[in-house]
């Protein structure tokens, strides 16, 4: 296994108390595999990724427990300089907002080339040639001329391509993409997702795709982990989860999106709001919003039940949820 996150806990110490952002997350990614982590804002999907990358702000953040195994070594036990070697070379991240992730006062060529200067000890001139090569690879037209331009001179889709080029530069074995297409228009989104999937196949990388968009996930993911209030509530191969969700939250999410192919009746809406992370309800965190909640849901935290070999669901009533459709 390329990456294994085991029982990870992350907390943030805030004025209102301790916000439990990640509460025992387990997931794994193999080479060439795409794992989609799905969740709404505040579900802990990005925080988990930041912990894996080692870019969590500490303080206020704190990893309160767990292991992150990357190629069988626990990243949390490494010294900062060892960690730094892995970051960029072995794993890289693509962020949502390309404009604010790029340095506005450096040309894109300098930013792309910097990777080679720092990690590979190349000269500036060679690094620049490498930068052009990378820009070609992510299909930015006229790469030779545009290598000297600044980020603001590129469109949103092109900037996201530069981010992808930067992440790919040192051919890492794992890429974490945090909402890579959320800020883009649909037609551009399709181009960028295609490019990402193609490069992943070429380099046989593991890809963690963090998103809130159930549509994007369906197109590219192999398996899905659905997060809610800092826990994974359901994991499954992509086909199964859409056909028959085994957790009421997943089911609610799927039903609440309007569909392109039909003019709906009233939309199903999950009532209420996601919980405040400083005051997660006892028992199952989803119980105040769940149509199936019983007394046991308010008292006992559901473990990740084994639905079948590849599927897990953190619902006391996963059987009923599966059957109810």
């Amino acid at each position: 296994m390329l990456l294994e996150v085991r029982d990870l806990y992350v907390e943030f110490h805030t004025r209102e108390g301790v916000a439990k952002a990640v509460n025992g997350v387990n997931y794994s990614v193999a080479e060439g595999e795409t794992l989609a982590v799905l969740g709404e804002s505040g579900s802990g999907k990005s925080v988990t990724a930041q912990a894996v990358m080692g870019i969590l702000d500490m303080p206020p953040g704190k990893i309160a427990g767990g292991e992150i195994l990357f190629k069988d070594q626990d990243l949390l036990k490494l010294r900062p300089d060892e960690r730094r070697k892995i970051r960029g070379q072995e794993m890289a991240m693509i962020f949502q907002d390309a404009l604010s992730s790029l340095n506005p006062v450096l040309t894109v060529g300098e930013q792309l080339g910097e990777m080679f200067v720092v990690h590979r000890g190349m000269s500036r001139k060679d690094a620049k040639a490498k930068a052009v090569e990378l820009m070609d690879r992510v299909r930015i037209p006229a790469a030779k001329e545009r290598v000297g331009q600044y980020p603001h001179q590129f469109s949103g889709g092109m900037r996201q391509r530069i981010m992808i080029a930067m992440a790919m530069a040192l051919e890492p074995s794992l890429i974490i993409a945090d909402e890579p297409t959320t800020a883009l228009d649909v037609t551009v989104q399709a181009q960028v997702m295609d490019l990402l999937a193609e490069l992943q196949r070429e380099l046989n990388m593991g890809l963690i795709l963090i998103t809130h968009d159930l549509g994007v996930v369906a197109d590219v993911a192999d398996k899905i982990a659905v997060m809610y209030a800092g826990r994974i509530v359901e994991t499954a191969p992509v086909h199964e989860i859409y056909k028959a969700p085994a957790h009421p939250y997943t089911k609610g999410l799927l039903q609440s999106i309007p569909r392109l192919d039909q003019k709906g009746r009233e939309l199903y809406a999950i009532k209420g709001l996601p919980p405040n992370l400083t005051r997660i309800p006892p028992g199952c965190a989803f119980n105040p919003r769940c149509p199936m909640a019983q007394d046991v849901c308010r008292s006992d935290v559901p473990p990740l039940y084994e639905v079948d070999e590849q599927r897990r669901s953190a619902c006391h009533f996963w059987k009923e949820t599966l059957d109810a459709r």
């Binding site: 295609d194 999106i257 569909r259 192919d261 009233e266 939309l267 199903y268 809406a269 919980p275 405040n276």
Partner: protein, 407 residues
Amino acid sequence: MHADRDRSAGTGEGAVGSTLLSKAREDAAAPYTEGDPILQVRDLAKHYPLTQGILFKRQIGAVRAVDGVDFDLYAGETLGIVGESGCGKSTVAKMLVHLERPTAGAIRYKGEDISKLSGRALKAVRRNIQMVFQDPYTSLNPRMTVGDIIGEPYEIHPEVAPKGSRRQKVQDLLDVVGLNPEYINRYPHQFSGGQRQRIGIARGLALNPEIIVADEPVSALDVSVQAQVVNLLDRLQAEFNLSFVFIAHDLSIVRHISDRVGVMYLGRIVEIGSDAEIYDHPTHPYTQALLSAVPVPDPTAREHRERIILHGDVPSPANIPSGCRFRTRCWKAQERCELEVPLLAVPAEFRLVDTPARHDSACHFAEEKHVVPTEAELEIPGPAEAPGDGEAPGDGEASEAGEDETP
């Protein structure tokens, strides 16, 4: 709702006879009668000048953000406008509520051109056209209480609610949008994104408008909350007989809420028709590409659909291509597209046949193409019936917030 009513009415010069007739009628500024469109937009344009020089500014060009938009809005109907960022859809919204003055064209509200009005006459008309903004975080003043925010329209239009009755009116509005009326003295930061959007909607309703222009009202919200707000808008429309202009980039939401849909590209509407005409029988290549690019939440869809991937980016509105403005990205483009601007009208080949493809489309080579996989082609069944427990979404959110967000 009114989709079947003369679908090509007045939306293009070169269309069928009935179009010309109706156009002639409008130009005579006939008095408004029941059944006419409540809002008629004709050849609407907004150009922002580009200047050079500091002291003696010379105009060197213009950003043609909106460049000739026509549509009708009927009473009680929802017109969806979709398009990518920079296509001018928000500028259209701003002109409709008179936040921007059009460079050219007319916006007729009940037959009267409001784009040229000013002073008292303008103020009276504005009461009837209200706006709901995209970003619930920046569109509410953080230093005003919810009561003041929703009640502010009454300061400007005191005739709607005399001073003494305002508090009651605001509380009624909070109730209508599914918020607890006791929250009247709270500040915006005490609410979640979905609740703030409800406040924005309540403010839009305060003056009992006939038309609401909603600019991306749900795109800043989380998926589960989005559905609550969409349902609220649906309910309010039925309750108050509102006409909506619903602007969004999310095609699925637009289909859900709209009776008719217009697709914008680079400052113009390229195709307009009923929701079924646009989604199931698109004839403009841009609409087809847009629809085919929407990710469908169903992995089996991968095998069933042909994806049209457009190359390149949208051209700059300061430098619009000649002829058809989509030709630089279109796979069908030919010489004719470069020379001749296609008009928004029913394409010749569909004019005499009775088919859903018979709607306005601004393309020289319009042809029908099926791009949205139908339910039968997918394994995943459609959404189940909405839950039977009445107005659960609104109530749920309101009551929950009491626990969650009390400081």
